[in-house]
Amino acid sequence: MNFRRLLIIVVPYAWLIALFLVPFLIILKISLSDIAIAIPPYTPTFDLSAGWEGVKTFFSELDFENYIFLWTDDLYWKSFLSSITIASVSTFLTLLVAFPIAYGMAKSPPSWRPTLMMLVILPFWTSFLIRVYSWMGILSNNGFLNSFLVWTGIIDSPLHILNTNIAVYIGIVYTYLPFMILPIYASLEKMDISLLEAAEDLGCTRMSAFWLVTVPLARHGIIAGCFLVFIPVNGEFVIPSLLGGSSTNMIGKVLWDEFFNNRDWPVASAVAIVLLLILVIPIMLFQRNQQKQQEAVL
């Protein structure tokens, strides 16, 4: 019994330590190293054969140079700033689009709901890459949207949408929409309709009952949905590289280019560490929200 118990804990635990925790320590270490023309392309490397002296030299050669570089070169901090801005704005836009849908779903007859749920989940199971790709054909200069608008006569010449930040916002709202709808729907669906009736009975108008009762009760769902969009969008790579333009500098793309094009591993690692530090606070807030929600259920 005790051996089995140990096995059940140790195997997944050890796996995560080896393939999740240790890699972070390695990133941290490399972010403090210098770029070198070598294999692997950084220095110093760990040399255990040199004994304690080796360890000491190893640590003495580590420095914060890459972080200073990130600070001085405005490409990086501008990218961080623009990632956070894009993530915040698109989170807000996703909320605006998702809430009415979730609200409509929660109000629909119970017999429709499983089907509506399935319709929200289905895109979630469909390839992310393909969903982003589908907008390339729609938004391009001779794409579906422009042809349609020209045909209806609203515009004379095609709008330039693809490869701009607008395309990035559309892509993010589109692909992350299910993440926002599902938690909000879940919290609205549980809501007791008699609460709204009680509010109206006590003198609320429909509108004020919505703001004073519905929205506060859906609070945890809204917060969860916002974090589920905001956190991963910060590190998004596919959307800015397919839909964004040369002016779209999101940090995920910068990290990718630094690694694959410039082969500067130490700087890429430093970028990853800074991104992680930026995301630590929202991740912790997200987990606290989830805990509170669980407590609220109990």
Partner: protein
């Protein structure tokens, strides 16, 4: 939230919302049957892009790599994730439990670029040759966390006295898990496997970091072909993938709907 009629506002937002979700994919599917290479010009119905696709050896190779990676990593992830879920829900106290649950939840929101980069640096520093094997390791790592969450939410709602009843009737703990717990949580384990499988099929960023020169997965292949613009062969491929997912999800939801309806009817008859 029951009992209120849908207002025109609700109907409009539902209609527009689902149109927004489905129109882009619908357009993609329609244009995969377009005879013309140009996106907007409809030049008649044709299946030539499908024919081209199945003769494209590179795509077939990539699909084969992806399938093997997905099957292997989702199976491994299901085993590890179920163990992790069991450890988290059944053993309330053990050393490092907080770190453990933190590591289970973190990959859910961790940007792919960070996971990919960190795993690549690990594989390099221990001198592991990159290829299918490293992709499987990477995919197993992040998808086991999803499996753990799906399975542990089922385990939490699971009546613990069922396991105790099995022990009481003479089962060893392992026997009780095999003959009582596992059959009951099986639907969650299966959906965990499916989720892990889909995540693996879908992953571009992590695979790009940890792959070697010889193992190109389907997303990597798709990404390199669409970087430069719309490609009708990809439209055809997308249509196939969308069709597979749609058939799978619709079948699953119909089956579960029928099972639930049957159970409700039977429960009603019993009382």
């Amino acid at each position: 939230m029951n009992g209120r009629p849908l207002s025109w506002f609700n109907v409009t937002s539902l209609t527009l919302g689902f149109a927004f979700l489905y129109l882009p994919m619908l357009i993609l599917v329609i244009y995969s049957f377009n005879a013309s290479k140009l996106v907007t010009v409809w030049a008649g119905f044709s299946t030539k892009w499908y024919v081209a696709l199945i003769h494209d050896q590179q795509f077939l190779d990539a699909a084969w790599v992806t399938l093997r990676v997905a099957v292997a990593s989702s199976t491994l992830a299901t085993i590890l994730g179920t163990m992790a879920a069991y450890a988290l829900t059944r053993f309330s106290r053990f050393a490092g439990r907080t770190v453990f649950s933190g590591m289970i939840y973190a990959p859910l929101v961790m940007p792919d670029v960070i996971i990919g980069l960190s795993l690549l640096l690990l594989f390099i520093s221990i001198g592991l040759d990159r290829g299918i094997f490293t992709i499987i390791l990477a995919h197993t790592t992040f998808s086991m966390c999803y499996v753990a969450i799906v399975v542990s939410s089922r385990l939490q709602s699971f009546d613990k006295s069922l396991e105790e009843a099995a022990l009481d009737l003479g089962c060893t703990p392992f026997d009780a898990f095999k003959s009582v717990t596992l059959p009951i949580i099986a639907p969650a384990v299966i959906s965990g496997w499916l989720l892990a499988f889909t995540l693996s099929l879908d992953d571009l960023v992590i695979a790009s970091f940890v792959t070697g020169p010889s193992s190109t997965t389907l997303p990597i292949k798709i990404f390199s072909s669409i970087r430069l613009g719309v490609n009708p062969e990809i439209n055809a491929l997308s249509t196939i993938l969308i069709a597979i997912v749609a058939v799978g999800v619709i079948t699953a939801s119909l089956v579960s709907k029928r099972t639930i309806a049957k159970r409700e009817r039977e429960a009603l008859e019993a009382n």
